[in-house]
Subunit: 287 residues, 2 copies
């Protein structure tokens, strides 16, 4: 099947669209997150603009309640083929629209977790590196809601969410920074925060970011770095990864998590999050 | 020394003033927190209104930078007598104004912590129950910034802050509750959150409050209760109290912490926070 194609990852805070030509990315556009207000259909039409699009494929919050069309959460374990087969086509402004399903899982105690969008990156990573589709792999997608995902012979068998990035943003606007959020993210503070995460619990350490400004004259930037190191460190202490971690994300965040993992002697390797998202989206409704 | 007296506790979110007659509380007024905007002097004058006040004594954020007059943090250990002796008198609209000093401390690793206002309640508690002034006691003042305080033979020797209440408020406005903060605080959810805090770390459990709404049909109220139980439970797991805990606070929060402490087999007893604040404030500039 041929024709013009647009694929996109629409998260809570950002829309990224790619126009494909002969299956390859020819152009890229960005727009607002689906939770940042406005009618999703109108927003999508405006960002698509003059792009021809016989077919559109979206992942992420586009399939959430309040998104374009609500899609189910497929319960884990889920293979790439099961995931690709999900979902009927919708019509959007004359285009055929398909939206990726999300995933749900339960831990050993039966407690639930969900994801929307990260599954596309993971399945894309398996398409880019077929050796990921055999054996067991631990994948980390750091971000607003970090996902720690277990792969077993090509299936996503379970995962856990740490809302580390969201907590960092919330605390940046808290009483820890009464003069307003500092812009920087100090390396010395980051290292101090990582160290602190090894020493004691998160909740009883957060306030040190404020006390160090008041008593020791630390800057707001140092405290931001401390908070970042403390949160990322706490995430890794809690998740206690063993073996090599595959980190899928952007370069900046991957480097920060890499420093935290190295500190605990955990090997890692990295893949680019955008490349993985594109590879996953191309699997849906493909030629 | 006689004359009209007003005492008050001015925190970040609330001002409470008490007018004394012959040393006893005759009237009570409330006003906005010192961080909620407006010139502190004008706010205080407006709430004082027609009250006669030869002498005014305030504790809390009244002594913070940006408050009425910045007061130092006294480094622990600090006895009641050392604390009472601090601070020169200021003049406020014809009244003699004194503001309580805050406290600072360092843990065994030298990391700092600070308090403003809670020291007044603790020293007030020792005035109300003199047996607290001998031996070792662990005191918890739950709230926006929970304080865990160690007393040794009448001196405050150290403390640690957990910003549990602030985190609860921040997370109530997070993506865990996309439809807006739920008003209730479900008991079943609270118990589930307490249990979860015993099982695994805070950061990797928070998102369950959202997933349980999406996958298991839990209400926003249940999720609020879960979040409250998880945070209070995590605080107690991290602080790992031993021996009896003296909880100084209001009845509602004391009951919640009591349930969490009982779950871990930790005995507690309670004192009313407002009574302790009044008792502490009366020690400063007293007749």
């Amino acid at each position: 099947m041929s024709g013009s194609r647009v694929i996109g990852d629409w998260g809570g805070t950002r829309l990224r669209l790619w126009r494909l030509e002969d299956g390859e990315v020819a152009e890229r556009r960005e727009g607002p997150g689906i939770l940042t207000g406005g009618d999703p259909g109108e927003t999508l039409a405006a960002i698509l603009g003059d792009w021809p699009a016989d077919r559109i494929v979206l992942c992420g919050m586009a399939g959430a309640r309040g998104g374009l069309h609500e899609m189910p959460y497929l319960p884990c374990p889920v293979s790439a083929d099961q995931w690709r087969a999900q979902g009927k086509a919708h019509e959007f402004a004359g285009s055929r629209l398909r939206i990726a399903a999300g995933l749900s899982c339960r831990d050993a105690s039966g407690r639930p977790d969900v994801m929307r969008g990260e599954e596309t990156q993971i399945i894309g990573a398996m398409a880019l590196e077929p050796e990921l589709a055999t054996g067991t792999h631990l994948v980390l997608l750091p971000g607003t809601h970090s996902k720690w995902v277990r792969l077993d012979d090509g299936a996503i068998v379970g995962f856990r969410t740490c809302p580390t990035g969201e907590l960092f943003a919330l605390l940046g606007r808290s009483s820890l920074f009464p003069e307003g959020e500092a812009a920087g993210n100090d390396n010395e503070g980051f290292a101090a925060g990582l160290q602190r995460a090894d020493e004691r619990g998160l909740l009883s350490t957060l306030f040190e970011a404020r006390a160090a400004q008041l008593v020791d004259g630390r800057s707001g930037n140092w405290a931001q770095g401390f908070l970042s190191g403390l949160l990322i460190g706490a995430e890794i202490v809690e998740m206690a990864p063993e073996g090599t971690v595959l980190v899928i994300g952007d370069a900046g965040l991957t480097a920060r998590y890499g420093e935290a993992l190295a500190r605990r002697g955990v090997p890692m390797r990295a893949m680019d999050g955008e490349a993985c998202a594109i590879a996953g989206l191309r699997l849906i409704d493909e030629d």
